[in-house]
Amino acid sequence: MTKITEKATSLLSEGTVKMIIGYEMGTERPRPLFCHTAEECEKLIMNAECKNNLAVYLTKKEIIGEEKIAVIGNYYVVKTVIQLQRENQINLDNLMVMTADENGEVITFTTIDEMKEYTDTHEPAPDPKMVAALEKIDKMSREERWEYWKSELSKCIRCYACRAACPLCYCNRCVTEVNCPQWIEPWAAPLSNMEWQINRVMHMSGRCVGCGECAAACPLDLPIGLLCKKMGMDIKSTFGEWKDGNVLSTYNIGDKENFIK
């Protein structure tokens, strides 16, 4: 009976929460689990492979309903909750955010500042494979980069798993589903796939928490995680750590740039 299951069972039996969202072991890798009853809490686990960003369910009314629920997520779930709160998409008094550290101790957050303090101190190391891939691309010339991205993204079958797995992609009518005007062609073609990725990452600029779930969700393992990573690094280097509001929806008179003459 791990501490998580103990905590979850107590929460459910006392009725403080109606449902708990956590992880359970799936066919080969952990997957999201929704516990409504105590015995379902037995299956709750928390380890390094638990990667799914559970915050994606917090904006879906049909799942969370009106009552109070709890979520036991990894580092990125906590960070996403901060971002969702900043965009006032979630109602904090209906949500209990919890996580577990390495030896299984359950940490419960009551306020946003506690979450911010936790996320600032527990930043996981960047994934070395991604850093290496980014360097490889930076060394390429412009034409090589164009060929690289065109060949990679022409494989995309437009299943939108990257959009579905992303907790910050909660629009109920995405830009691809709007047809007057038809911004992005809805069929799979190299250029429209690139336009789709550019659009997705531009709408994420300054909001993305870097959980990497879009890349993990892609059935073809396309390197779309690099786009979000690079966007995140560019934003951090040009605008520094942005605290209040999103980068593109606010402005600063003192922004410096060198290309507008």
Partner: protein, 154 residues
């Protein structure tokens, strides 16, 4: 790339803000300053309204170069339109570069209503630069993906 450049006339699209750059371009006309004619101007209420997708649609539609211009910072008719735009362009430009789209073909500038001459220079420089770079064929080829399926015209 040199030999076909002499007869290549680049097609440039200019996204301009109505209050400053469009007025500036107007001034260029009234003061009889000559500038290259292959620019098609698209007027926007403010640079803040220029959506980044429009640039991609311009390239896909066959233009070889883009000029984006608006009011100087802090004299925007809507006070903060160009600040937002500036941020959007900074973020968008890095992303385009990372994806290998040729950002040299996009000219970003501030042209106020009084700078008629500057508008002519901006246009002429861009047209010469794009003429040297030649047509943007790789983007147009990617945009023609559906045409690979041949049609029988009998």
């Amino acid at each position: 790339m040199e030999e076909n450049n002499n007869n290549f006339e680049p097609r440039i699209i200019a996204f301009v803000c109505n209050w400053c750059t469009y007025a500036g371009a107007d001034l260029t006309g009234t003061s009889r300053i000559k500038y290259a004619s292959n620019v098609e101007i698209v007027r926007f209420p403010c640079t803040g309204r220029i959506d980044f997708m429009l640039l991609l649609k311009a390239f896909a539609g066959g233009s070889d170069g883009i000029i984006i211009s608006g009011c100087h910072p802090s004299d925007c008719h809507y006070t903060s339109g160009n600040f937002h735009a500036r941020r959007r362009w900074m973020v968008f430009r890095d992303m385009l570069d990372f994806m290998g789209i040729d950002i040299e073909r996009i000219r970003w500038s501030w042209v106020s209503a009084a700078e008629g001459a500057k508008w002519a220079d901006v246009v002429n420089d861009t047209v010469d630069k794009i003429r040297k770079m030649g047509p943007y064929t790789e983007y147009k080829k990617a945009a023609m993906f559906l045409e690979e399926e041949k049609i029988c015209h009998d």
